[in-house]
């Protein structure tokens, strides 16, 4: 009797495993091969380029079912560089990123849409300086496969979006420095082990 019950339970567990959807793979963002850059207008003459040097994050992704993905990213505000020490110090202040009170910028993906075989959109909550706004990332799926060097499972994306800094309370020097900020993101995710 005992053996029959165990066999029944075992068969039920197997069945449940068979009908449940395949879980998405978990990836950690590889900071060495990823990057976050932004472009912001200066008096209409040029676009100043800034980069975030320290960031981290993870995502879940299944190419056959991208709608079930997840994404969480954190950027260290203190690591933002625009190639000018003076300006980099200034933008940490209360008029801009307010690094003292809000040392991190975060993005949490909420909705994942496939728009073609290689493109999609991620709608998520972008939080800068304590203000959260829904933001749409236009994403290009680059490649998924094995890294020939270390045989790790890697997936890569490119993403772009535009945000208005004034939406996040950053209104300093509007008119001299653009309101609209172009964000360009390159992400390489490495499958989490264990």
């Amino acid at each position: 009797m005992k053996h029959r019950l165990a066999a029944l339970l075992l068969s039920m567990t197997s069945l449940a495993g068979a009908v449940s959807p395949a879980s998405a793979t978990k990836f950690d963002i590889d900071p060495v091969h990823s990057g976050i850059a932004f472009y912001i207008d200066h008096l209409g003459f040029s676009k100043v380029i800034g980069v975030a040097q320290e960031f981290s994050g993870a995502f879940e992704f299944d190419a056959s079912k991208p709608e079930g993905s997840s994404l969480d990213v954190k950027v260290k505000v203190g690591s933002i560089s625009t190639n000018n020490e003076q300006r980099d110090g200034d933008i940490q202040g209360a008029d801009w990123f307010n690094a003292t009170e809000f040392p991190e910028i975060t993005f949490a993906g909420k909705e994942f849409k496939k728009t073609s075989d290689t493109t999609g959109q991620i709608i998520g909550d972008l939080t800068i300086a304590g203000v959260t706004k829904s933001t749409v990332l236009d994403v290009v799926f680059n490649k998924e496969g094995q890294n020939p060097w270390d045989k790790s499972h890697v997936v890569g994306f490119s993403a772009t979006t535009k945000v208005k800094r004034s939406d996040f309370g950053m209104k300093a020097a509007l008119g001299m420095i653009g309101d609209e900020v172009d964000l360009v993101i390159q992400v390489e995710g490495r499958e989490r082990q264990g």
Binding site: Q86, G89, Q92, G93, A94, D95, T100, E101, A129, A173
Partner: protein, 284 residues
């Protein structure tokens, strides 16, 4: 703010002009209608108007971040100060001395535990400034104009220090407050009927202290030596009576001029030091 002009400089100049004109108009109307008690609201009103011109918004409540907190520090300070002024004038001194530490701890909350001594130092400096402005306070309108004049000089002196301390918004805010004060006091230079009471103390002076708290505690790039020297703006005018006596000056306007000029000396020195210490190209 930029809606006023074709360039940031034009926009700022236009905003300053608007502040002067509105100051004259509001102050003039109150004087004409004999609303002396309400003149206490003019300076904090100017600061709130300046805030709106700079940030183009009334921040949501509860405020997120120091810049937004400043608005509510000014607004609540004005309301509380005016209520105390009306209901219990003797309590104005207590309410005014309570304001700087309250503002410093509220705005400097993220620094508590990390650099608590900085918050305590800023709170103490704020109390000292408030106490020196309150010192010898009387109900004479000419003394109230003098105190208002010192506040305007403080704002004018702090503006470039804030700009060099990476806060262009605080620069604009302080300049606009000073411009508003200029408009307000143009009406009261001769035979003043002006009240610098609870609302002016906790709303305007307290508000200016909260702006300084933001620059010093949150942005943390301000020239502390320049700010310390700027603080002398509230010390030097103590000698104005003696200097006027020595010079044989007895009329009201020269008295006011000497008082404000004494406040302006450390302000000018502080600005010069801030520029000299900056050691880099001007942030444009």
């Amino acid at each position: 703010m930029l809606g006023f002009g074709n360039s940031p400089q034009e926009a700022l100049a236009a905003s300053l002009l608007v502040m002067v004109l509105v100051g004259i108009l509001a102050s003039g109307l109150m004087r004409w209608r004999g609303l002396i008690r309400l003149t206490d609201l003019l300076m904090p009103g100017a600061l709130l108007a300046a805030y709106w011109l700079v940030y183009n918004k009334v921040p949501v409540f509860p405020p997120v971040g120091a810049v937004n907190k400043v608005f509510y520090v000014i607004a609540i300070g004005t309301a509380v100060g005016f209520a105390v002024e009306i209901a219990a004038r003797r309590a104005v001194r207590v309410a005014s001395l309570f304001q700087p530490p309250a503002a410093a701890f509220y705005i400097g909350l993220p620094r508590l535990g990390v650099a608590t001594w900085e918050v305590v130092a800023v709170a103490t400096a704020g109390v000292a400034i408030m106490w020196l402005v309150l010192r010898g306070a009387s109900v004479r309108a000419e003394d109230d104009v003098k105190r208002g004049g010192v506040l305007a000089v403080l704002a004018l002196g702090f503006a470039p220090i804030a700009l060099l301390g990476a806060s262009s918004s605080s620069f604009q805010l302080c300049l606009m407050l000073a411009a508003g004060c200029l408009g307000i006091f143009l009406v009261h230079i001769i035979k003043p009927v002006f009240r610098f009471g609870g609302a002016s103390l906790t709303g305007a002076l307290g508000g200016l202290i909260s702006v300084a708290c933001t620059v010093v505690l949150i942005t943390r790039k301000a020239d502390l030596l320049a700010i310390a020297i700027l603080g002398l703006c509230v010390v030097l005018p103590v000698f104005s009576e003696g200097i006027c006596r020595m010079l044989g000056v007895s009329r009201q306007f020269p008295h006011l001029f000497v008082h404000v000029a004494l406040a302006a000396i450390p302000a000018a020195l502080a600005v010069a030091i801030a520029f000299l210490d900056y050691g880099s190209s001007f942030p444009v």
